[in-house]
């Protein structure tokens, strides 16, 4: 014979159990619906070296005649250029060296390295297969978070990586399909993805979001330059794009954009990226020639020096140096970062 109290207790127990089941189902459903395998690889296999003709292999490093005599010739990508330039110039003064510095892109670095006209090449992406030339060694300087950026008036502050992928795929095409931090609906605006699908032969960067360009929404706006990305997002209330924190910071006076948290982690909270919780980032590397015939010892020393100096870069660059990544369990092959922490 059960008492009324027992019956009540039983009813409460059933209710609590039901709620737990519903909650877990939700999480499971969320996990099930999270697109799997959409993100591309972050790194390439360092053992895959580009096959080059013997003539090329024998070809020495020959600086461009327009540069004149230089102890070291460096070409830097446009993102590492502003952070490393003053350090390199200081090094040159201190060591009485003439260092020629070219500002370019990953492609320009790859081209100049392929033509063997520079001692050091700078990349803002992890090296692709075509970048791995015989005798070339990659030294990862560090990584920087790639932030999802939206219009400042957009009330959405946080999305999951799955939602981000659906947005760029065009599966979420209205902001009202998302929830604000207070639980309300997002703005009733069409989502306008803005992308810069650069360095298609290299891993990481935008490929961490979606591995191939065919996965991106047919409605996206594709831009070719960083300021165009910032301009497009800041001009369109429904736009979403991506860029590193430093570039957002660089154009903040002219163009206002807001960075989104991904899975609850803000891009400028670097510890989450170090811990592997924040999913999007770029890899910054410098190269040196290893073979004796083309190696420049001064270039090696400079790179070693830069590896130490990047540990003290200004916070505005939101730069995580390789040394910190090593400590956090990121995988390295020599100086080159080749894998995320487990």
């Amino acid at each position: 014979m059960k008492t009324i109290t027992d019956r009540r207790m039983l009813l409460w127990g059933k209710t609590v159990f039901f709620l737990i089941v519903v909650f877990l189902s939700g999480i499971t459903a969320q996990a099930i619906h999270e697109p799997k395998g959409l993100g591309g690889p972050a790194f390439t296999d360092p053992s895959q070296i580009m096959d080059m003709p013997d003539a090329w292999k024998k070809q020495p490093i020959k600086h461009d005649s327009s540069i004149g005599s230089a102890d070291i010739v460096i070409t830097l990508d446009q993102q590492m250029h502003p952070s490393l330039l003053p350090i390199i110039q200081k090094y040159a003064r201190e060591h009485n060296l003439r260092i020629a510095i070219n500002k370019g892109t990953c492609g320009i670095s790859a081209g100049m390295l392929a033509r063997k006209v520079v001692d050091i090449g700078g990349y803002c992406c992890a090296p692709g297969v075509t970048d791995r030339l015989p005798g070339l060694r990659f030294h990862t300087m560090g990584i920087a978070p790639l932030a999802l950026i939206i219009h400042p008036d957009n009330p959405i502050n946080n999305i999951t990586i799955g939602q981000a992928r659906k947005i760029f795929q065009g599966e979420i095409y209205r902001w009202s399909e998302l929830r604000t931090a207070k639980g309300g609906k997002g703005a009733n605006l069409l989502v306008q993805p803005v992308v810069r699908l650069h360095c298609k032969l290299r891993p990481g960067s935008w490929r961490l979001l979606l591995k191939g360009e065919d996965l991106f929404s047919p409605d996206l706006i594709e831009v070719g330059a960083i300021p165009d990305m910032i301009a497009q997002v800041s001009a369109n209330e429904g736009a979403i794009g991506y860029e590193v924190i430093w570039e957002v910071h660089r154009y903040k006076q002219k163009r206002k954009v807001k960075t989104l948290k991904i899975n609850g982690y803000a891009p400028n909270e670097l510890s989450h990226l170090v811990a592997g919780s924040y999913p999007l980032y770029r890899v910054y590397s410098l190269t040196t020639w290893e073979e004796e015939s083309v190696a420049n010892p001064q270039a090696h020393k400079l790179v070693e020096y830069l590896l130490q100096q990047v540990e003290h870069l200004d916070s505005k660059f939101a730069f995580i140096p390789a040394s910190r990544l090593k400590k956090a369990g990121w995988k390295f092959n020599g100086d080159e970062l080749i894998g995320e922490p487990k």
Binding site: M52, D64, T105, G107, I108, A110, H198, L201, V223, G224
Partner: protein, 920 residues
Amino acid sequence: MANKRSLKSLIIALHKRVSLTIKMILVTVMVGVFVWVVVDQIQTHNLKSIFRAQFAERLSDQAMEDRLNFDRYVKVHHQSVRLFVAQKNFSDYIEKKKKDWSTEAPIQIKYYRRLPQWFPGLSVLRIFAKPRYALLLDSRGRVREVYHGRSRKGRLPPSLLQPTSLLLAKSRGQSFLTEINGASFLVAAESFFGFKGELLATLMLTSPIDEEFLNASLGRHQHEHIIALLTLGEKPQILTSSNLDELPAGTLLDTLKEHYLVTGEEFFDYGASELSIKLASFISMAEIESVTKSVLSLERKQRAIAAPVFILTFAFVMLWVTQRIQRLTQRISDFSQQTLGVQPQELQKGDQLYILEERFQRLTEDILEAREALSKEAEEKLILEKKSMEMDQKGEQLKLLQSVTEAVGVGVIKKTPDGLQAVNKQMEYFAQKCGGLSDFEMQDEDNLELSLLDKNGVNHIFYISSITFREEKILLIRDITEIKAQREALEHLALYDFLTGLPNRKLLCNRLRKAILAAQRERNSFALLMLDLDRFKEINDTLGHHIGDVVLKQVGVRLQSVLRKSDTIARFGGDEFAILLPVSDMEHAKYVSSRLLDVLKEPFTIKNNSLYINVSIGIALYPFHGEDLIQRADVAMYIAKQNQSGFSIYTPDQDHYNVHHLELTGELHRAIEHGDELALYYQPKLNYKTDSISSVEALVRWLHPQRGIILPNDFIPLAEQSGLIKPLTLWVLKTAIRQCADWHRARLKISVSVNLSARNLLDQQFQEEVTQLLKDGAVKPSWLELEIKESAIMVNPARAMEILKRLNTIGVRLSIDDFGTGYSSLAYLKKLPVNEIKIDKSFVINMAMDDDAAVIVHSTIELAHNLGLKVLAEGVESQEVFDMLAKLGCDVAQGNYICPPLPPAEFIRWLNKSSWHRGK
């Protein structure tokens, strides 16, 4: 040099001759031109800056769009090659050729000018990228076939005909920009695989990055700005541009920035580009200049319209200003002429402003000149006064000005080591007061007046003051004897009566105020006496004002003779005097009043005329009678005059200004107006001869609702003082006449007598009013008798005579009341048109006991009879008196013995019962 001088003189001449308006317009035009030029320069600069900024902004936006287009066009190559390879005709062709290409035979590249089989149709190419070259490579990466279209096949770089594995790797999956044999190329490749996944062929699309490529990427050939690709390096230069005619390849960027606005220099960060290039937008400065010029031209036109309007407006304003200047100039001239007496000089030619300046300058000079003259005069005066006291040659003695020395008698003061030492006492005092003459230490506030007697005994008053003049302390000594005398004379005129030399009302009031303060301080009393000469007007009227003035002077002297020095006697005007007796009490005031009355008893002998002057004195005392002593003494004086008592002391009861009297006056006014509180009582008059009542005296009673019956003595004075006596008399007359009429209608032939006041005898309309009342009441004038007090006639005998004569002419009987109390002589009465005299009751009542009274009554009766007048004795209170009067031959008797005053009804009852009526 001579030319310069003549030009200068010409300018000066023009400056003087040309009017202000024209000059100002010329200046405005010149300034306007200058401002125009400056504004134009600034406007041009500003407009250029604005347009440059505007163009730069617009160009920046355009540059972004161009970058997007270029980027899209580049990427389309990659997508195109993927699409082309996926076509069926491509796979069919490769399937067909794969056997042929597998041989090791030397390769003979096949060139196509027209579309090869493995290429899509023209309709597809129009939509997708149209490559300049399409290279078909076999499975081993060897070029087998080439489509070159309109391009010459020879321009294809050899490296492209033998592509490296790196080139193939980099161009697969993306549109790859690279440098091939010194030229920039886009390469996009896609491989074709067999069913087993084996590589069968690769299609490579390539285009040189040149003007054609650039224009194709932008989708246009002509545009307002030029897009160019810049190669980077130490000196950036044009790689290719959308308009090579204007911006040819190889042109250095630095040389272009002068003629072109360059913007949008952003990295083409494609990531698949090995080319160090930037895309930039150029716009010709000439084009910006052209737009600027067109706007500037419009703005200049607007200014060209505004300028004449401004100048015209300015001209009008200047004309107005010039007119105002001319008016101002005229005013200055008038001022100089009228105030300073300076005739304006004719000026040389010049404009209005010049003339104004000149006139003003002259005015300033004239004023300064006048000021200088005044200053000089003042200085001379100062020096003169300074010299009134100066050291002698040795510097040992201080000499006084001759006039001073003469006045003082001794003019030398010796100087000693201790200072100056005066020789005589006056100068000792002088020196002492000056605080030491030796160092002139006398302070400004130490001004003093010094009164000194000269050797002739004449008093001189010196005003000594110290002043600082040009940092020098000097003493000024002025003889102010005359000024002082004049001032004192003025003060005397203001405070003293010019006729008698006695203090006037102002001075007395002043001393009265001081006396009040002193009495308050000392806690004592003082008295104020108000004096009024009786019948003084008569003297003036009969003997003339000059005699009256002499009388007043002598009265003043006599009054002064009995007063103390501390007392103040003042003439208040007319025949009124006031005497202030400080520290005085009631007894002392009475004593002084008696003395004053005594001193005036003696006749005044003026030009052989002996004049007797009586005076009435009112006394008021502080603090007993308050602070308004003048008014209180005046009231008392009036009472004394009324009572002919010589002097009277103020009592509030007599003061119609006191609160009680004011209340009573108001009530009396109301009573007369309504008439319901007033009543007439009638007292019969017994005719000795007929032994009958032939007449009654109407006596007014005030039946006050609160105060009871008020007798005439208690309110008639109030009525006289307040001016209510006239309406009261008229009310009494009207009522009495009505009563008389009633009686006569009732066949009771009784005449009525009514008392008149002195005021009635001054009223010019009184006779007419009496006539009207008699007419209204239908009463014969002979039935009305008017009784006039002797004293009332004497207030203004002439006027009284005139009024009485008028009344007499209408037939009204007249009687002199209270005879014997006044000062009129029977001889005077003879002139009056009266019928009867009433002997005052004071004599009649006492005649039984007082022989003198009896004699007076007897004499009066006899005398009156001799003058043909009837005699009525009032105040008959006893049988004895009644009989005595009968024996003395008195005509009529009136008194309580016969009948007291009674209301009309009672009177009729009494009359009906009375034996007198029946001829007892």
